[in-house]
Amino acid sequence: MTRWFEDINAGEVFPLGDHTFTRDAIIAYAKIYDPQYFHVDPEAAKLGPFGGLVASGAQTAMVGQRLMVDALFAEADRLRAAGEEPGVGGPSPGGDKIEFKAPVRPGDTLTYSLTTLGKRVSNSIPGWGVLSNEITATNQQGELVYRAVFASFLKLRGA
């Protein structure tokens, strides 16, 4: 559902698209996954550290995951349309330095981007490689609100 390991170039930037965080979606997410008052109660949130409602940081990260998966499928469709066989991806073993750098407020539109920082052949799983991918999100003022680095498995061509 993406490219093959050999076809990924370190330093390459993939735009992942935009997402607008509505008040209702912020509250709906937080009621299930992060029910702190500044994520679920707009009135109480005014008295809190952000002076109003803000999205859970994990929601910012999960929206990034969704946009990344959608972009992988779009890349696979592009390759098929060009007569090429798409590559095979695997699960992520984890991430690091997942930073929520500024609040995300109702109505904010975040622009997400993926940059492959590096790649290596897996030591533990034959036939697979591991990518190090940086995901960033900036808001409509151009302010960086989210940055994270995740590892992900990607199959070697012909393995």
Binding site: M1, I32, Y33, D34, P35, Q36, Y37, F38, A44, L47, G48, P49, F50, V54, S56, G57, A58, A61, M62, V63, Q65, R66, V69, D70, G89, G90, P91, S92, P93, G94, G95, D96, K97, I98, E99, F100, K101, P103, I125, W128, A148, F153
Partner: protein, 176 residues
Amino acid sequence: MPNPITANRRHYEDLAVGEVIDLAPTTVTKQMIFDFAREFDPLPFHLDEAAANASLLRGLASSGWQTLGLTLARLSAGFLNTIASEGGLGFTDLKWKRPTMVDDTISGTATISALRRSKSRPASGIITIDLDVRNQRGESIMTMQLANLIAVRHPATVPMHEMPYDSPSDREGAKS
């Protein structure tokens, strides 16, 4: 002005390194895996059993993000809502060590591993929490560290420690 919502909750001064918070067990059903994956992580091995069996996960497994979400839900309701939390800074060293398979029951612990004052916010502290999530066989499936801001009740009377950056971790000097 003190925050009336959190005035009676525990503040920075009331916490100690070593406190362990139990995270209540959750059984992850096939329907939960499908519902979550459709919303946040629609990869074939989280949505389709045949694709899952052929994948590195060798069977239908939840998104690692779902394991993370369910863990944070319990931390938020069971602990962050009992302290003067001022929001999360981020996560470090997130490891998805084993997949969460259909009908696995996950539970875990959250341990306060560090407390430090914020450099950029004199009335706030930073609490570091080590999360260890396990399945019903006691196998570790996810570990990570989480950094969260917490209000200091009496900022002037608590000594500021030298802390160079407000980041999820004080390792490697990430910029605030």
